[in-house]
Amino acid sequence: MKKKLIIGLVIAAAFLIGGVYGYMQYNKPHLDIGKATADYNIDAKDLLEDFQKDEVAAGEKYLDKVLLVNGEVKKISIQDEKTSIMLKTGDPLSSILCELEDPGDLEKISQGQQIQIKGVCSGMLMDVVLVRSIVVN
């Protein structure tokens, strides 16, 4: 009798833990870029060069990684609620395109300014793209 009760309790506990774990997984938060430590600290020019040299190798190295990129603001683009910054790379056709997490960051910067920006690398089209970016300096 006691044995059955214990087995019952263990099974109930397992379900409860499983349920809580599942629920937490389902609701687990996105990576907090502000607090995350950068995997790489790199200049805008070098980041673009890495992708231009070998896109596959650069992808393996940088994709989904938190990058801290240093560069000069080339252009600020605002489209509806989406705000992005382009960093100069020395190549007139390609830049580092950073989609801002918080448009409020725009108050900190202006065109031509040297900044440090942290974001997650999602790959390269015309530009190397960082998403969820935050202006650090």
């Binding site: 938060p29 990576l31 489209q79 989406k82 989609e99 089209l125 015309m126 969820r132």
Partner: protein
């Protein structure tokens, strides 16, 4: 000699005209929406490219799969790792042509309802796609809007039985872009 010079000049003008017909953006918005009994899933990407050559009516657009943002981190993870395999297929690309294209006057403000026919590549699989689209010319810039549906099964994306009720078989894709003239 004079005729040749005039002809040359005319060709030169024509060449400038043709060049000026290219409009592009690097910050087009792509949204997709899956409506299913269990939950609705929505994802946004604001860093898509779009290039339209109005001299020919051709359109190209590309988007990075890893740039899609979901409400829940877990959905984003599953989307990238299990369904889209974005490490293997990092981009989706559309290449198309406005059908029955007779040119659009970019000097005159106005809305143009067009059909675009082309090919879309998702998850490494290329399929034909035809969609209505709106092209709005306003003060020298161009806004485009289009909405179409894609069938998950057409692109070799397998969704396990357990979550089949959570994900729609048809995904609605919306693309909005503000394009500017490419300065040569």
């Amino acid at each position: 000699m004079k005729t040749i010079a005039i002809l040359f000049f005319a060709f030169f003008l024509l060449a400038i005209q043709t060049d000026a017909q290219i409009y592009y953006t690097r910050t087009a918005k792509v949204t997709f929406f899956s409506e299913a009994p269990m939950e609705n899933i929505e994802a946004h990407n604001g860093t898509a490219n779009m290039v339209i050559d109005f001299s020919k009516g051709s359109i190209e657009s590309a988007v990075l799969i890893k740039g899609f943002k979901f409400e829940k981190a877990l959905m984003q993870e599953h989307f990238n790792e299990n369904y889209m395999e974005s490490h293997k297929y990092p981009k989706s690309v559309f290449v198309g042509q406005i059908t029955d294209y007779n040119g659009i006057d970019l000097e005159v403000n106005g809305n143009h309802e067009v059909n675009v026919k082309g090919e879309i590549t998702i998850h490494g699989v290329t399929q034909p796609l035809t969609t209505p689209a709106t092209i709005k010319v306003k003060d020298g810039s161009v806004q485009t809007h289009c909405k179409f549906t894609v069938e998950v099964a057409d692109f070799d994306i397998s969704i396990p039985g357990v979550v089949r009720d959570n994900i729609a078989k048809e995904i609605e894709v919306t693309i909005d872009a503000n394009l500017n003239r490419l300065e040569q």
